[in-house]
Amino acid sequence: MAALAALLVHIVALALIWAPQPVRRPPAGNGGVVKLFALPQPEGTLRASSAPEAVPVHAPPIARARIAASPAPSLLPAAPAAPVAPSPAASLSSPLPAAVMNAAVPSASPPVRGTDRADAARAAYVRLLWQQIAQRRPAGISLAGSCTIAFRLDGQGRLISAEISQASGNMLLDKLALRTVRQAAPYPAPPAMVADGGLLFAIPFSFR
């Protein structure tokens, strides 16, 4: 029975990969963040919501909120809609964007379907993880680029593995992001609800 389920999982996974992937570009531009494939929950775990897919925490609304709070002005004609590149005045001295300054994690938007307790717990746990990593954020090294680190935790919050899932093109940046995630461990133990839903996370870094 389990073997059949596993095979089903793989067949569906392959089908999903071959289907065109919606790639969500991160607000900071420069390299897309691969949205890691979302698999349907195996039939063994029924969830209260009728969602056929597990819904990862969506960042776009958060990113938009962050842009609005950013004080950095930009007069460049081709200003991207994303977090604006520092303008000449801003480059003279621009503290961290307001959202980060107050060490506030941009609040995760509620999942698309309902207010599932597991999803809310996951969102809260993700907030904790983000805060822990952001606190150990490295100082700027005058290199620009974006990369994504995928990392897996165990039931106690210890880091099992971390790898570069989306490289920036510059190996030093990738290594720095990877080291940040590794050295921020151990992370808080995940609540059981969250642990059941899987402990694979992906965090994008944007260096400017």
Binding site: A3, A6, V9, H10, A13, I17, P27, A28, G31, V33, V34, K35, F37, P42, T45, E53, P56, V57, A59, A68, S70, P71, P73, L75, V84, P88, A89, L92, S93, S94, P95, L96, V100, M101, A103, P106, R122, V126, L129, I133, R137, A139, G140, I141, L143, A167, G169, N170, M171, L172, R179, R182, G198, L200, F201, A202, I203, P204, F205, R208
Partner: protein, 713 residues
Amino acid sequence: MIVSRHSLRLSLLASACLWQLPAMAQEATELPQVDVDSATSPANLATAPLTGATLSREEVRTFQTRSSDTARLLQGVPGVSANGGGGFSSMPAIRGLNEQRLNILVDGHPIDSACPNDMNPPLSYTDPLTVQGIKVITGVSPVSMGGDSIGGVIAVESAAPVFAKGSKLLIKGEASSFFRSNGDGFGGGLSLTMATRNLSATYSGSYTEAGNYDGGGDHGAVRSSEFAKTDQALALAWQNGLGLFELKGGYHFSPYEGFPNQYMDMTSNTSWYLNGHYAGLFDWGSLDIKGHVRDTDHEMNFLADKRGLAGRDMPMNTQVKSAGYTIKFDLPVSSRDTLRLGHDYHHQGMDDVWPAVAGSMMMGPNPYLNINGGRRDRIGGFAEWEARWSDKLSSLAGLRYDRVLMNSGTVQGYNGMGADAAAATAFNALNHRRVDHNWSGSVLLSYAPVAGVSMELGYARKVRSPNLYERYSWGRGSMSSRMIGWFGDGNGYVGNLDLKPERADTLSAAFELRGTGKQGWSLKLAPYYTHVDDYIDVVKLANLSVLGTTVAQLQFANQKAEFYGLDVSGVLPLWDDGARGSARLTATLSYLQGENLTDGGPLYHQMPLHAKLALEHKVGGLEGALEYEWVDGKTRVDATRNEPQGASYQLVNLRTAYSWKQFRLSLDVENLFDTGYDLPLGGMSLGDLLADGVQRPVPGRGRSVNVGLNVRF
């Protein structure tokens, strides 16, 4: 991205056959993005303090049409001014401290000047057309940035190497050219990068040339201000699991550069260099190793304008060979603390010889050995501790030790007659070896209590040893002493073997307010105070009569000096709506008082109170700016050097540019009203004096219409 998807498919296919997954979901929960900013913040105290400013490639591009002189580009930063030299060799000064006292780095490496008149300062080897970014720190800087300086930092950077992300070859670059009506200046530059995922090669080259420029109003042509030069460089980078390896080689050649404020002109400057760099990141920290080698051949004589009264020929050749390395360790010892350890070494060897002139009674039969086998070797180490107490508060404390060893060989004059012969004998009887043990330290505190408010406080004790000319210039004759000096004042200078290193205590603070919102306003106030013990100023030895004028013969001597002032800068957005585009107002103001505490008079070449105001407007691809500059009269002058006073003046510049796709066309009118004015820090116009006996300060540039074209690909 296609590559990673492909490998995902492959691995999944493989795992499908081998893997018996328990019922475990594989979705990755995405966290919000973490932004790592290199801009000023308490987290970046060691690399971007609040008193600093960074000029991006965009800003340099805006001004490259106007000037080929990188030092003049920096004058937009409050607290930075430029002591005039040749057309591409101005010497920057920060808060009253001149170029010799600053820490100037190009690609992270120091460059030695190789000239008794400092005609080839470090920034003269850079060209705005190919400069990618400039970092300036006007206040206290951390000891990890370098030693052997008592003032701020100017770091000119080439672009960090870029690599391709996929398997396709990456080709990008930028080409620029310009024409300036005043002086018929023209030139061009090219930066070209070709890269694969692991290898990157960047070529950068530029050429610039101009004739004598005209002063504004009825000042007429400024003699001996022509120049031409080319800079070429090739940088290779290789990134792999061990880290980043870089090798850069370059060549600079200038066939001529006139110096309006010197008795001599540069008739050839050739310099080649090789820089190596390794950067590695490990779990225990990061390691950065830099090494450099440079060979410079500098020749002086008279260009056409000076031959009238100076004569036909007086060759002076300086050769400098430099080598050095820097090793830095960055060790994050806890989530809060970072320890930085570093060691650096730099060797400078110099020969400054003035060959005999055939048929001249005075300049022969022997070559004049000004510096014979001179050397200046620095070895240093530092330890720095940085603590990030929270997102709002950071502190930094560092200690540095530098050992400077200097020596010079036996000297001789052209012949056995006159003051020089006696001076050579006296000089050769003495021991020339000097060793300085210099201890420096700096402490910085950065606090950003709420969003929009930042403050910084810094204290530093920095020490600088004298340069080779300050210690070893020995000639006492009128002509030989007037060949020494980078002050542009026409005076003669004599070295002093007993000079002690300068020791400066600096207190600097910065306070910044920023408005919230997308187009916030900002205001920065930065006061400072510096007290220098053993400041190397001058005492008067005698008066000299030159071409009907009287100048002074001066000797370097340790005295006491103090500098204090305030730098203010602000930005005010005016409007930002689609149809009318966006507009903003920027303003800077600098107040400086430099005083010699030993004789109670003002110090030489202190920039008077000045302010700049600019109205910038952008709509679509069109951008424009109206700039207004006001400089107060120069009333605080150094009487010992016969420094003349100067009148106040106002300048208006107009700047427009149109960008379309990857092209940018710029039209720039400098000194719109052709105002005639004297450069407060320009020195005396010796080129004009030697051409037609007229004595006056060096005039500023008259009106110039500058056109530039830039393409990025």
